[in-house]
């Protein structure tokens, strides 16, 4: 069973539907017991980093996530959920992240070519930088759907795929049992469903 962390951010309808479409059981929960009983945990997220971060710490979900990560449960962050996995974010100030993956989240503003629109919205191609089971069956150039204004940097070792938007931008990361996608797999058609399926098949619980 996949547990989708419910901490009051984002629209979880499509995530639930996409797990259903690949035949995986998924529940939306903020219950630590349910999270601990899940085979896989997905951390969603849309909105502002600081707000999401505070919600995780105040609700106690942060402690549960730490426990899950050290137990070896596969944890995947999506979009802002992925950004939260890093050491820190520079979104409107400096904010500490969960620190599961070394790296920092920086803004596109001032970093990429001025002619490019911010946010980066739309379908963009993936370039695999490492072989990883999360991207099994995915080919270079396969498009996925992005919506974001900040991106993860200084995390080269964990990057498994990038996308070109002015710079080679982090698109997917993996470090042990912690995974992340900057794009929305639940909005990325067949390619996205394949990635979710790979996630569900990823690893064994320790």
């Amino acid at each position: 069973m996949v547990a989708i962390v419910d901490y009051g951010v984002g629209n979880l309808f499509s995530l639930c539907s996409s797990f259903a479409a690949i035949g995986a059981e998924a529940v939306v929960t903020n219950d630590a017991m349910v999270l601990k009983s899940a085979s896989h945990v997905l951390l969603p997220g849309v909105g502002a980093f600081e707000d999401a971060r505070l919600r995780l710490s105040r609700s106690g979900l942060e402690d549960t996530l730490r426990e899950l990560v050290s137990n070896g449960t596969p944890l995947m962050g999506v979009c802002l959920g992925m950004q939260l996995l890093f050491d820190e974010s520079l979104e409107f100030g400096v904010h500490k992240g969960l620190g599961f993956i070394p790296g920092r989240v920086i803004g596109m503003q001032g970093t990429i070519d001025e002619s490019l629109l911010i946010p980066h919205i739309g379908w963009n191609g993936l370039q695999k930088t490492q072989d990883h089971p999360l991207l099994s069956g995915i080919e270079d150039g396969d498009c996925v759907y992005f919506v974001h204004s900040f991106f993860a940097s200084e995390c080269d070792e964990s990057v498994i795929a990038t996308t070109e938007y002015g710079v080679q931008m982090t698109a997917a990361v993996a470090r042990g049992n912690v995974l992340g996608c900057q794009f929305h797999p639940e909005k990325s058609g067949e390619v996205g469903l394949k990635i979710l399926k790979n996630f569900v098949n990823f690893g064994e619980r320790a």
Binding site: S17, L117, I118, W123, N124, E164, K187, G189, E190
Partner: protein, 254 residues
């Protein structure tokens, strides 16, 4: 490289697609859910559902259809039509919409974009504008293009983007239905004005019109059309192939 998006728009009334759809081997497709699946498989990058229902009952049916579509189709869904308040946002977002398009509702209440973007994020708020030239000035029309609001279109768009609209659909009434191509002059002006994605609408009659659009106004992010897709005049898969041959980046669905 980011791809140009192709977006079919479906008008839905009382649970059916308004313009009947005739495809070879498909016959008349009037179920929005089936049509959404068909377009998705053909390579649509996003779908717009436009609710043209007037009754509360019809609105309920529409929400049900949206939910069913979002269970089956995994590309972004934008919903427009009858969006006047944050409650309307809530209703369609909780039924699976990813973005909400505001038009007459924003004209009636210009603070709607700000309130909605604060609550749901600007990526969720799409400003849709019907524009027509009146004495050489671009003016905003309301109620599906029937009423001249007197608003100057470029300053209206600019103010709404500043308020929080994250994308703009520019529908040219002057070129709409004529099938002679998109309104490149208007689109160029809007693209120069705002730094959010601009979606071109109104005037597409053939694949080449999209080629012209993306090569003449390269800042345009997407092209939207309804009837040419519904009546099979342009197949989305063929359109994508044509664009690719012209070196315009598009997502090809295998």
């Amino acid at each position: 490289m980011i791809t140009k998006r192709i977006i079919p728009c479906l008008d839905v009334r009382d649970g059916r697609v308004v313009k009947g759809v005739n495809f070879e081997n498909l016959g008349d497709v009037a179920s929005p859910v089936e049509l959404a699946e068909f377009y998705t498989n053909a390579g649509a990058d996003e779908l717009v559902f436009y609710d043209i229902t007037a009754s509360a009952e019809g609105r309920g049916i529409f929400t049900g259809i949206l939910r069913e579509t979002a269970r089956r189709v995994f590309i972004p869904l934008t919903v427009g039509g009858g969006i006047n308040t944050l409650l309307d946002f809530e209703r369609v977002l909780s039924a699976g919409a990813d973005k909400v398009s505001i038009n007459s509702g924003a004209i009636r209440d210009p603070s709607l974009a700000r309130a909605a973007s604060r609550r749901y994020g600007s990526q969720c708020v799409v400003l849709s504008v019907d524009v027509k030239r009146v004495n050489g000035v671009f003016r905003v029309f309301a109620r599906g293009g029937r009423d001249d609001t007197g608003l100057e279109a470029l300053s209206w768009i600019s103010s709404q983007v500043q308020a929080g609209a994250g994308e703009v659909v520019v529908n040219s009434i002057d070129t709409d239905g004529v099938k002679g191509g998109f309104d490149l002059e208007l689109l160029e002006r809007v693209c120069d004005l705002v730094d959010v994605p601009v979606i071109a609408s109104g005037g597409a009659g053939k694949s080449e019109d999209f080629v012209t659009l993306f090569s003449q106004v390269p800042k345009v992010s997407a092209g939207l059309a309804a009837s040419i897709f519904h009546f099979g005049e342009v197949k989305i898969s063929d359109l994508k192939d044509t664009l690719k041959q012209e070196n315009i980046p598009v997502r090809i669905v295998k």
